[in-house]
Symmetry: C2
Subunit: 308 residues, 2 copies
């Protein structure tokens, strides 16, 4: 392939406007060739289509799609794009089930296109350095606290409360994407999901994981936190404490603070370009597998109704 | 290794007595060297230990363990056995979470021992022939109906209703182990789990899967069926109908009926011997992954309390 990768964004919601459009605009490996939205308006001078099918039939030539729709409809769009020979960037979570992602992975390999299950938090400013610092150190315990106000971050997003929408695991999977990137493999021992009586997905969860060495990893997810918000991962080691704050963007080590600029979506698009150029895929299911395990293994407790 | 594989059964419940003990007795590749049970009595002249730790410390030499305990405690026992260099046969389901099975798989590979996640229904008399008959045929639709009386099959088994115990998916995973063996890969599109208000696990489920070609696969699981019991998989194809009945033991094809003798557990132990002799593992997570997906993606509906 010569020239930029012509990419279409499908699903012009908040994340597409806030992150994908600027990340594509600032990466010369890409050109935003089209957008797809059943309701939205055109972005700049870029052609807008109502469905992916219309774009594929009548639109400009594209090489790739970035799927930013709710996860419940992602499989069908990904299959349609792969069938048309397009590379596919999946927003997180990569699907509504583990099995559908496995089917897509196999299908993309057969079709010779790139499938990228993206985990934006892994590209947060402190995460790479945290991973390097932890390698080889003895980990004694881990605490993950992800507490935010759902009314601020997901106003009126009904799909997030539906089956397949993950509830509080929608932000929680970001924490899990970091934890699975910087820690040895771990698994859920027991946990509790807190469900509003009028919703299908949890508003909070308390989970106890362990790794193969028995190291405890405690996770506290809550969507009911007003005021200051918390997205922290604290790791106690034989060499002192590591703390990632602000969703991985700030890193505190015994030797002092490490900060760098936010580059989550620029990092994702750089990675996607590498994958497309090298003809490979990157589909790490581990974060979604932990969420499925939490639904499978966790005890459910009803809490008061939630109204937007 | 020369001579028989010396195996210990851990967890002397119904499945151990009914299936494992006779299957081992009738396979000269194995010798039952010990049993482990916190409460049970000794089986024949075989030494009995109260814990796996006591067996490993004070018992006869063994080469392998068969873990027949409830899934919630399987990981710790498997890890202990692998650490002692023993091959491990896991009853189904192989664990209470997907992530713990992945950790065990990696650990067994590093330790150079065999890990076998067993799915006994795949060895039911009609399944191998059904798989061969379906290969290359165009599948139009699939119906899986698994309806039995929990009071008959799981009397007083409290663990089966606890988180990690799977509820009606304990038999349902047998159907899924056959379906994932004879059909192309498929995934859950939508479903409903029916939960007794006083239990943590479902008593029934209605699930709609599809494969990559769009073929519908409907699954009806119910633990409330008294009278005749149903364990059927019906596959409509371009060459007529295939029906597996009685949990895979009877096969009906357009050309007539195919029956053979039951060989589920003998088949499992023959496979386990092959794996141990060849130094390989067999850990297919697909059936448990579908169950996790059902818990993740399914809608929950409360039904009346269940009392044993």
């Amino acid at each position: 392939m010569t020239g930029p990768i012509r990419v279409a964004i499908v699903g012009m919601g908040k994340i597409a406007h806030d992150q994908h459009v600027p990340a594509i605009a600032n990466n010369e490996a890409f050109e935003l060739a089209a957008t797809v939205s059943s309701r939205g308006e055109a972005t700049g001078g870029v052609p807008l289509f109502r469905t992916l099918g219309e774009l594929l039939a009548d639109g400009p030539e594209i090489d790739a799609v970035a799927l930013c729709t709710p996860p419940q409809v992602r499989y069908a769009l990904a299959q349609e794009a792969i069938a048309a020979g397009k590379h596919v960037f999946l927003e997180k979570p990569p699907g509504a089930t583990l099995a559908e992602v496995a089917v897509l992975d196999e299908y993309a390999a057969k079709a010779g296109v790139t499938l990228f299950a993206s985990w934006h938090s892994r590209y947060a400013a402190g995460v790479g350095h945290a991973r390097a610092w932890l390698a080889g150190r003895a980990i004694q315990s881990v605490s993950i606290v992800w507490r935010e106000d759902v009314r601020v971050w997901h106003p009126g997003q009904a799909w997030i409360w539906e089956p397949g929408g993950l509830g509080v695991f929608d932000p929680g999977i970001n924490a899990l994407s970091i934890a699975t990137h910087i820690l040895p493999p771990f698994f859920l021992e027991e946990g509790t999901l807190f469900l509003p009586a009028n919703r299908a997905a949890p508003i909070a969860a308390l989970l106890n994981f362990r790794d193969a060495h028995g190291t405890p990893i405690a996770m506290d997810l809550d969507w009911r936190q007003t005021g200051p918000q918390t997205w922290d991962i604290t790791v106690e080691t034989d060499a002192g404490q590591l703390r990632l704050a602000k969703g991985g963007n700030e890193l505190f080590l015994p030797a002092g603070e490490h900060k760098s600029d936010d580059h989550e979506y620029p990092g994702l698009y750089a990675r996607f370009a590498d994958l497309v150029r090298s003809g490979t895929s990157d589909v790490d299911i581990a974060p979604l597998r932990h969420v499925a395990d939490a639904f499978l293994r966790g005890r459910r407790e009803l809490v008061e109704d939630f109204h937007d």
